[in-house]
């Protein structure tokens, strides 16, 4: 098993602390190395975006072990997460020369059809509503955005899925998105298949009372 990136100086009152979902993503990418290498060819420079990087552990792992030469543009809505991301990248001495963090919602500030590999561990917990974006950096509620996903825990994820065709590059274009059972991932997968996507469950695991799974969405070239 490949080592987990280090993250020692982060304030988990402000930034999502790596948890079962995070580690499932790391295991997912450990298992996808060969697949991704055949999709892009070793040494290639795909554009990689993790939405909602939180601590930055997943992006760091992907830089270390999957795409040492990717162009990495990771986003989070939470400014504390963007800062944490920079700390984590530095702490793990990432040598990839192109890692940047951007504060935005989803990929709203990235040009269309530019991203080859998209990664998202969304706020997936069912909740009354998706929290408002706090107005100031000092606000204590930034972390709420990490968890509460509104109806079925799917409100943020659906926004992304409906834009997927517009976000992913036309050439390859692969998205990895994490779901919990209450998100009804089979229904989501079926809907997306009807829209012409190839959808596979690449990994799933029982984590406490949750069942987490990661779905891979890929363009159907034929």
């Amino acid at each position: 098993m490949l080592p987990t990136p280090k993250f020692s100086n982060l304030d988990f009152d402000k930034v999502y602390e790596p948890a079962e979902d995070t580690f499932l993503l790391l295991d997912c990418f450990e298992g996808q190395i060969q697949y991704l290498n055949t999709q892009f060819g070793p040494g290639s420079t795909p554009v990689i975006t993790e939405i909602g990087t939180g601590s930055g552990v997943v992006t760091t792992f992907v830089c270390q072990h999957v795409f040492p030469y990717g162009i990495v543009l990771s986003t989070d809505i939470n400014p504390h997460a963007c800062l944490a991301f920079m700390d984590t990248v530095t702490e793990n001495s990432i040598v990839n020369p192109t890692v940047d963090t951007l504060q935005m919602s989803l990929t709203s500030g990235i040009r269309p059809n530019a991203i080859d590999v998209l990664i998202f561990n969304p706020p997936y917990v069912p909740a009354e509503e998706v929290p408002q974006i706090p107005e100031s950096l000092q606000d204590s509620k930034w972390l709420d955005l990490a968890l509460s996903g509104g109806e079925d825990g799917m409100e943020v994820t659906w926004i992304l899925l409906h834009q997927l065709d517009h976000i992913l590059s036309k050439k390859v274009g692969i998205a990895y998105i994490l779901f919990c059972a209450r998100n009804k991932p089979e229904e989501v997968a079926n809907y997306m298949r009807q829209q012409g996507w190839i959808v596979d469950v690449v990994i799933h695991r029982k984590a406490g009372w949750e069942v987490l799974s990661i779905l891979r969405f890929k363009r159907n070239e034929s």
């Binding site: 420079t45 543009l73 951007l102 919602s105 500030g109 040009r111």
Partner: protein, 129 residues
């Protein structure tokens, strides 16, 4: 934020999506810092495939660099000496030049985005989101 990243970011406002003026943004009042990176010519060659050259020229101009060739250099080879010089320049510009603070303005709707402590902020106020 690395100079390279300017080639991938656009105005976050939905109604600007269909406008060709929403990318690239216009860069003003930028504070630049050079930070050394390992030089890997192969990597620059691969990376060039992903670059929109006209946008690169436009942002370089905003930041006071008029030295880029008008057309994207094709078929560069890291072994040829002349190509080496171009690759090294691109390395310095794209990967070693950081915008630490500055403003990015959409040429379509004039919305201003800020870069602070190297992090660009594309969050919109609720009435524009």
């Amino acid at each position: 934020m690395k100079f390279l990243t300017t080639n991938f970011v656009k105005c976050a406002i939905k109604t600007c999506d269909s406008s060709i003026d929403a990318f690239p943004l216009q860069y003003t009042e930028c504070e630049l810092v050079q930070q050394e990176q390992d030089y890997n010519p192969e990597f620059i060659v691969h990376m060039l495939e992903r670059i929109q050259w006209d946008a690169l020229i436009s942002v370089a101009r905003d930041l006071g660099n008029d030295g880029l060739p008008a057309n994207k250099p094709e078929g560069l080879d890291a072994i040829i000496e002349d190509d080496q010089a171009i690759l090294k320049d691109l390395h310095t510009l794209l990967l070693e030049t950081h915008i630490v603070n500055g403003k990015m303005t959409c040429k379509h709707c004039n919305h201003v985005y800020h870069i602070k402590n190297s992090i660009p902020n594309f969050l919109l106020p609720p009435h524009l989101a």
